[in-house]
Subunit: 464 residues, 3 copies
């Protein structure tokens, strides 16, 4: 898309959000609205982008981190004024078409951008307003059409009763010929008592000079949606959630109840996988086919293979293989790799460790900073003691080892292949292959102790 560039207006404050965050930084499905808009550009092949910042601009600059140039609108003087801030940047792109977008209208999409551009170029228009037909147009700018294009965008407050019936509204996104936009910006004058410059006035300037203005109706009416308060933001989130759920259903994913199901836009889920209620999938999470996920999972940047069951698990930055069963009540922390056929039961935490094929970790166990072989059996209550108060060390466990219940493995330590540790042992030295290591004292039996205690209890209860 070498003939195209984009300017994203991201200066808004969002006062009614009651927050210091710039409005485009509020999140929909966990992603700032600004990033939705940038993604729509990038998916349309437009990567020559300038971002106009304003309120708390440092937040956006830090977020963009130099990936795209930003220009600052230091005074809040309207959308036309905001685009003027990009005039220098635009003047190097005079021969291009420029897309102007709102950084807080996240649902603009590739299809709309490209189809509008196609019409813009095919009709050789100077400006193409992207519009949508919506059932309740109240509050939006109405599009006044002519035989050959459009003649005006009428704001709610200026609309006649007849105009108020028009359901085609301005989305705030436009394709301009950059040279025409620049020349009209030079002629733009403040529109109102607040001394604001309206971008829509450039259309009248262009029309008055004999240029051609037209509108493209997006097939996606959500294109026009933004959020002015947190209620609106919740509504955008609900729309985005439902859209993603419907997409997955079409792709053959089974969702039994969508209550609490929140799946990020970059998440992939394979056909035949069943998602139960309360499942949150974020980041670049990928789920294979024929899995069962849920209820109540939170998987972030986690890869899951096929035929795997994940029940009440929280996981970050981890990888899980095929035919694995995990949960309920498990946490996988970053750097966890679970290989095929592993079974992990309840109350288990795994961190920065590899668990080999067909290993079983049944219950109440912490495995941290460990390399665990295949076919290993962990008893209940095993702890890898990876921290001595000074530094962290690794534990290595060989194939087919059997770790007894409540064993402490004090790292750095290696438990050999096919070796055993006795229940309740604290293992501080390496265990050779095929051996048993056991730390055990003699057990003393004190006859009558329990009976005396019981008599005390009975006496106490009798006194009550």
């Amino acid at each position: 898309m070498s003939g195209c560039c984009a300017v994203i207006l991201a200066g808004g404050q969002g006062k009614r959000m009651r927050s210091d965050l710039p409005k485009p930084m509020f999140e929909v499905l966990g992603v700032p609205m600004l990033d939705w808009v940038i993604s729509a550009c990038e998916e349309s092949g437009i990567d020559d982008i300038c971002i106009v910042t304003g309120f708390n601009h440092e937040v956006i600059e830090r977020h963009i981190d130099g990936k795209y140039p930003t220009v600052l609108q230091s005074e809040r003087k309207g959308t036309g004024h905001a685009v003027m801030m990009a005039a220098d940047w635009l003047s190097e792109r005079r021969d291009k078409n420029v897309l102007i977008l709102n950084g807080d209208a996240p649902f603009i999409d590739r299809e709309t951008i490209l189809a509008a551009l196609w019409q813009h170029e095919a009709k050789q228009d100077d400006v193409t307003v992207i519009t949508a037909e919506i059932p309740e147009p109240h509050g939006y700018g109405r599009i006044i059409r002519t035989d050959t294009g459009i003649s005006a965008i009428v704001e709610e407050k200026d609309a006649t009763n007849e105009q108020k019936l028009i359901r085609e509204v301005n989305s705030g996104t436009y394709w301009f010929r950059a040279d025409r936009l620049l020349s009209s910006l030079e002629k733009l004058r403040p529109n109102n008592a607040q001394n604001e410059y309206y971008l829509t006035d450039t259309i009248y300037i262009l029309l008055s000079e004999g240029c051609k203005a037209n509108a493209y109706i997006s097939a996606n009416p959500d294109t026009v949606l933004g959020a002015n308060d947190r209620k609106g933001l919740l509504m955008l989130n609900d729309k985005a959630r439902t859209a993603k759920i419907y997409q997955l259903l079409d792709e053959g994913v089974e969702i039994v109840s969508s209550d609490g199901v929140t799946i990020g836009r970059n998440v992939h889920v394979g056909a035949g996988t069943r998602i139960l209620q309360g499942v949150i999938l974020t980041g670049n999470t990928e789920i294979g086919e024929n899995c069962v996920i849920g209820p109540n999972c939170l998987l972030d940047n986690t890869k899951i293979g096929n035929n795997t069951t994940i029940n009440c698990v929280q996981s970050h930055d981890s990888t899980v293989g095929n035919n694995v069963s995990i949960g309920p009540f498990v946490q996988l922390r970053p750097g966890t790799v679970i290989q095929d056929g592993v079974k992990i039961g309840d109350f288990v935490e795994i961190k920065n460790s590899t668990i080999g094929v067909n290993t079983a970790v049944a219950h109440l166990t912490y495995i941290g900073d460990s390399d665990v072989g295949s076919g290993v059996n962990f008893g209940c209550g095993v702890v890898t003691v990876n921290y001595d108060g000074k530094a962290k060390f690794r534990t290595v466990i060989g194939d087919n080892a059997f770790i007894g219940c409540n064993t402490n493995l004090v790292a750095p330590v290696r438990v050999g292949n096919a070796s055993y540790t006795g229940a309740g042992s604290t293992i501080t030295k390496d265990v050779p292959d095929g051996a048993l290591a056991v730390e055990r004292s003699d057990t003393r039996i004190i006859e009558g102790f329990g009976n005396r205690r019981l008599q005390d209890r009975i006496a106490r209860n009798t006194r009550k």
Copy 2:
């Protein structure tokens, strides 16, 4: 219902589900749609049933497992052709009324089946189409009524504009006199270019021979619902969930928020019980009266007594008594029996064990393959070591025993009545009644160790 039999058409594929599962095997509330239809027959007293299979018929045959005969429609040539496959079976039932049902329309119900049969017999009709009046009939076959019955079922594509306004539609379920059905099937001819035989054409054949066709309007408009894709299946699930929730509310169950609440059709819940959000009850789960269940429980085939609190628990194939409190964060695995008055705290797993009256298992404990008496107190971190890498063994704990924290009970082992185990002990031999068993070494105190470490830490932090 000795004069009745049923044929269930279960050959559909469900292409848009993107799955190899036959359509009638897709689940609503955890139960295949086919089983909903079979249950409706059985609840109506009809247990002489023939199932016509088709796409991936082995899946259905395996599921039915010989309980009912199946016949295979090896080519997909329409509903009339499907019923022809059952002609031999029907020819042994010439004197009966036969109910033809769709295996993927799960909401047919006993009231509808029996009331339609009553009308069918009372009016001495030869075929009675079960219909429903629905607000949005688009896509369904419309019923054309006459003074004495019906004259046609008009498909959407053949309907005149006037006929499209008719809101009475075909559910796809019919009562036929079996002999009439058989004779009309013999005369049935392919209807279209695809060479398909339509079951509805039998009605025209019967009418042309002077037989009587009529329609019965079900009080339950959901009778007509099926699912062609997973979006539709989600909708059926939502309908079924809501219907079950309303039924329980009518029966005196309190539901504070229905979000995530999913209760299977065979589940019973007593009056006065409160169900919180995120509760999934499946299989033959039975909950008593005045319990509190939730939030976030998954109870499958689990029986709960009265006045019991179940908070954030997953349970399969277990039984819990009265006045019990369990949770949060507990798993009961198959074969668990919890007797009255027991208290189970957090991070506890119990499997294949009996826990006696008034016993307390407060936290971080695994009890597997154990017989636990009454009045027992488990310290935190107790583990029944039931597996030695070769076989599983049982642990027996007597009444009023006191198991110290982090005790390992290495099975097979018996802890006697009123006996104690010391914290941190690994118990490998039986503890006599009323005794104390303790495994403990001397504790060494190394003065200054911690101070040196602290100085190291301070030094490190200073260098940073």
Copy 3:
């Protein structure tokens, strides 16, 4: 509001609830409807309140616990009869305005009560009916207005077709001049075959005597809502939940999905805090600013500071500081105080303990009845052994201590400042400041043990 008093009618049964609970005791958002009504009075400055009980009056008396006087309506003879029961109480308040309310219409609010009183006094009316305009008035008493006030309240069954179109309906709440109410009650006669006295008939009596009756339209149409069955109660809960969520959104709280989110009316949440799905906040819970709460938390009477993360936690009667991170899968039981900067990981229970600044409790730990200093590090699997079968004792841990994994701290015990305990030790005596305490036996290595076991396993598998 010294010139005002209130009578709350709380005698209803709620038969269709299928419960022995008086109807006003059914809960909305965890608070009995009666308490919603009492709170509305109290928030309006009215604390001179008389409650008329009836069905299972002991339950209400026990709940009110003497805070307000109650009078018993022992026969169920209508709303007029119920108010008669308070005649003695009212006769001492002849010069006041009295508010009559339904104990099972929870959404009456301060604004409505005070604005209606203001009109009542400004217009010098003798009775002011609080009304609302609702879209579906079916079943409610319709208000017949005149030029100067109202002339009647017509019940559904008595309404003409024209009157049924009236959308202004009676909420069942009234301001009366107490003297007028008393005199009209004396003249009240049974209205119907059931011998019931209707409170609305007092309006006709007053009008017939030349008194002035008027109506005040509440801005809040939910004022009229009550619940006759549990379906209605679920609807009230949903309304109350949504209202609270919208209030918090307006106050700058971020809610990504409201599924399963249930926030009690007395709960406060600071701006910038993000609430995820499945969060239940009850009692007097207070959350600070810029926290992340959820998913799936249940916080009851819990105070949380600022910038704190609470993930999958259940907490009762606890306090948590600033910059704390807790979860997932944690329980805080009553009496827990978590100071600033603490990190608590997974599968941790804390009860009746203080955790000092910057202490870390990473996993699988129980801390009960303990005073823990600052900068302490708990290894995995630590247990405070606070109960010896006879009594509970406290554990004291000094600043910067390091508690090794699977340590048992047998209370009463003190671990000194900057001291260490070795992994797997059971500590029964105080550990001096800066020392290391370790209980450890020799570890025996039995060569070949594991190999023999492995050979057995292979042999077994071969035989299969």
